[in-house]
Assembly symmetry: D2
Homo-oligomer: 371 residues x 4
């Protein structure tokens, strides 16, 4: 793998590297980690990349790697830059025949993601989007329980993703993460909805295996910030279920509190990311059941992605590593791997962002997703 | 006290009686428990009421009790009938000089509650509304922490009240509770929003000491029911905070899951009714704090309403009994007891219901509360 | 009921009064609340007892009440004094034909409790011991699940009762509770083991329906205190299960943390007093189940003692009130009420205390209980 | 690194490999994974090891690797075989100049571990023992809080390690893990106490920075098994604190429930492995505090070993990887790394096992640890 972005101090880049390493299948062989040549090179060397493959720009990396013999060159690029570069890098890498593992959102506009989708149709390349939360085994188990009709026809979904780190009072003055996320040029149309709202809607769509049809949104722009840092969205799913989504980065005290509850006419499920190894399942009138990671009664897919026996906690890096394992499987096998978030999820995310922004701008009206 | 309603099998009537008994201040001396004379009388006798004071109608009770010598007659009536009778009984009781403890909603329409408010202004009588959740000590503590500015300027409120007992598939066919709650004649404009949505908005207003200004609501009427059994509401508070409220009686698997989270710019609080003895408090960048019922560090008001030392759980009946203690205090002392929900809260509840219904009817638009 | 002890500031006396009131069956009609005549009388009046029945000594109360016509006099006495008076008052009250509800331990020595047991055999009077924790509905449910063989042959019991309020550094200098509990004259052979260790062993014996056969104990006497404030005890039950019990009143930070876990060869149960409304049940290889108070699937006995529907928390006072309801039932019906802790449990408690003290004194050896 | 043991289906071998990979510092370059040459080789190849370095015996590996040029050869061996081989392999590897990362217990007898300690004194080689639980950041934080005197003089330690997987009824008939663990030849003097009891005592000694002085133990041998599968141990620490330890592998329903609570005269801490990312801290009379993984307020050592920001859960593999990182640091820097469990902890573990076995054999008497 060749990495683009994720230099010193970048949170998500180091997560991707650990996730890839933990996969025991993927090796970091090349990279460009900074726009500054020397910085990039030094950082790459510190990661154990050979000096000739620490590149100065993504174009250089992609072009040069493409000229290496197939056995030696990277198989795919991992894009962990700020949002505004995702699209152009992905497009470029695909055009040179590399598979792509891309941070979300896959582009700044829906249109661009649709272009990527078109481009992909003309190749046999694989494309993964880093929707890490659906790679937790207990989320896969939740999806499976719904597919097996264990909670019946879905009536209501409540998904809540609360963080506090972007709260103006809370923020360290020079926090790099925060600065690009609040820049329309680099983050795009939205901060909170793009960064975490898309995770929230994606996990709901993943578990339900149902797309959201339309949204009614209200966003908050604290202290006249250019982009939203909080919002609430009413959801209607294509098959009739209703939902309510709230996402925030100004909930002081919250760390990374993503919670989803799905209510059907026969029962319900609840999952909380911060206690990711358990899934609550309740069928009508019976006791609440706590399902745990690694247990024999889980579905095959959830069990296959549990690395440890029950009672040995796993977390975020393991989930991320599961994404890389699924992506690896898809590259090797060629066929679509069902559980891997791909360009369709990238497109869905952008459609959601654009609809939410429009609903908020036009007085909190219902807006149907364009894709 | 004289009770009206709450006969055999009625849930809330028996709670009121236990709460009054636990107060150790209030005695049940009279009552009318059924529209059937004999049933009412038999039930009253089974409660230990003397036969002459088991009445056949509320009018009979109020009129006859009013003629007893002051020392012997009841001091107040407790109204625990279905919703449609609250107003006429309250009005009648007040007109005969009795204090009133009334189940919520205080009437079927806002207009009626405003009338009660007018009527009360012309007397020195006390009037309590059964908003039990604000009588939990840890909710009082939460209000106090906000009043002391411990979490700063409030940005966001998330209040969620989920029950499952009215889910069509879940319901026992002949469940009495359910039948009147789904009858517009007896329940009024709303089922879910009136029954539990008003609790949800009331606890938010109580903790913030801030009224909701306007709402945008979407309601659900499962299986073409005449009244709502679920809904989500965007809130704007008068002083600028935003909120999101969801209430449901069709969340299969949920028992009585009322949760409120309030986020300020300095910290946040969380309270869950099902673990009512703890309050989570988090100030920016410090550890989460778990405050517990009965602890020395609580404010005086919370401590005064904690009956047991820390670690000895309390619950719903104790909270209800706290309402009766506050009401008793107000009757005895005459002055407004700050923490007691009164006609103002009754009016606020009806204003909320009417606004929510209107917003839902008119395409999920923002509607300002009329009172 | 006539109360002995429990004057101003006494924790447990007020709990007994609230529990009796909440029963809606029992009325406090007489009492002696202090050794000081005037204090006793004033306190009694403040509770609404008529002045002629506020007595100056327990003997006066028992003698005078016994001369009242049967309809007017108290049916039973409730003994809530320090430990050293339990036996003499109980013996006296029984000799005058009154039923007795007695705080634990029922006497200072095993011998005295055996005497009470003898005395009771010669009457038809009822005698209850205030082992409140077995009156929680979910503890009754646990007992029922074991009786139904849902967790199989019991191998191991872990019971832990940790409090911190007697920690020397933590204690308010003039705390009345603490002073008598550390006095051998008034508390007896033991502080911690008598006060809470007996609860711990009693709840284990109640759930297992099996007596402890022998113990190996190590006690702690912090700061050269005359009585133990902490201890750990290895248990062997008569039918072979092993157990480990630890009780402490110097665990700074603990409130009233009583926890029991029972492991059988087919499954296990866990209950924590501080979250008393839930019981965890796990059968081999299945998910953990959370059973909740008031749910339809509970056994009849547990359901009969649940006052509220699921999700409406109950606690310590409700459990205590359940004891009074069971006691009331026994008095009225005459037959032994299965779930009510009686003199047998009083005897078992003293046998446990004496065995634990002996084991600790003789170098932590195994000691068989004398009764 | 060269691995010895940990072939197909072995739980702990795969954990070590993932942990090493996640360290991003350590590469698996050689190994012997089975006593069957071909199996070993095939498995090694499947892990990506080059064929020439998939060896048929540990002696072959050590000898041959020692002859490779320093740059190419492995730096250390990781021993993940059944217990009976730990000592001989470790001794052999050290004698050839390799650092050793060894599973616990470090040998079958205390004597052997003392020999290893002697051998190590004569070299500058590093030796790590796989006490993974002390490498969780929140356990390091706990140790730090005690070192800073935040909970005062320690009075009591309660440590409980409960698993259910060895319960006879629960066990899959041909479970490989179980078979060697119950073999005295391969597991040594003890099953449960060696396997998990040593973890329990080690985490207590780590947090307190205090050794256990003597023990009083009772062990269980279900169904006449040759080795213990459950036990309870009273502990006395060298500086006076008392403790109670229970460990079991027959607690049906338990997964990997290691819990430690430490009570001082100023406060207490609690940690549960299954919710490893939080640490509860309570100082006298204040609220309970929940400290979370990755938070700014943690000590430097805890923060350095937190890979993700707060709210992004971590677990068992991360903790294991921390051990490898600490070991790597020690190898590179040469000086003793404070937090790394080393031969001293190996010796302490064996001293504990032998004392516990002796206490149990001799009628549950106090036995002082020999080292």
């Amino acid at each position: 793998m060749g990495m683009i972005g994720g230099g010193d101090n970048a949170f998500i880049g180091s997560i991707h590297r650990m996730a890839a390493a933990l996969s025991e299948k993927i090796e970091l062989c090349a990279g460009v980690f900074s726009q500054d040549d020397e910085k990039s090179s030094n950082f790459g060397l510190s990661l154990g990349i050979e000096s000739g493959r620490c590149y100065g720009s993504y174009k250089e990396m992609i072009v040069k790697e493409s000229k290496l013999p197939k056995k030696r060159r990277i198989d795919f690029v991992s894009i962990v830059t700020p949002n505004h570069l995702h699209f152009e890098i992905a497009e470029f890498a695909l055009s040179y025949g590399f598979h792509v593992f891309c941070e979300k959102p896959t582009s700044l506009s829906l249109n661009e993601s649709l272009k990527l989708q078109q481009q992909l149709k003309q190749t046999e390349l694989s494309f993964a989007v880093a929707h890490v939360y659906t790679a937790y085994p207990m989320v896969i188990e939740a999806r499976n329980r719904l597919a097996n009709n264990e909670i019946g026809k879905i009536n209501k979904v409540v998904v809540d993703y609360s963080q506090g780190w972007l709260s103006p009072e809370y923020l360290d003055t020079e926090q790099k993460q925060a600065s690009w996320r609040m820049s329309p040029e680099r983050a795009g149309l939205s901060c909170c909805m793009a960064d975490i709202g898309t995770h929230a809607v994606n996990i709901a769509e993943f578990i339900l295996q149902q797309r959201v049809d339309c949204v009614l949104a209200e966003l908050t722009f604290s202290n006249h910030r250019p982009l939203d840092d909080d919002g609430s969205v009413l959801l209607r799913f294509r098959h009739g279920a209703k939902g309510i989504l709230t996402a925030s980065q100004i909930c002081v005290g919250e760390e990374n509190n993503l919670t989803i509850r799905v209510y059907g006419d026969k029962g319900s499920i609840k999952w909380q990311q911060q206690t990711s190894g358990t899934l609550l399942l309740q069928q009508a009138k019976g006791p609440i059941q706590i399902l745990t990671n690694g247990s024999d009664y889980l579905c095959d897919a959830a069990l296959a992605l549990s690395r440890t026996p029950p009672g040995h906690p796993q977390g975020f890096i393991e989930a991320f590593s599961n994404l890389y394992l699924l992506f690896y499987k898809q590259i090797v096998e060629g066929d679509k791997v069902d559980l891997l978030p791909q360009i369709e999820q990238g497109v869905a995310g952008l459609a959601f962002i654009e609809a939410v922004i429009e609903s908020n701008k036009t007085g909190n009206r219902w807006v149907t997703l364009s894709a």
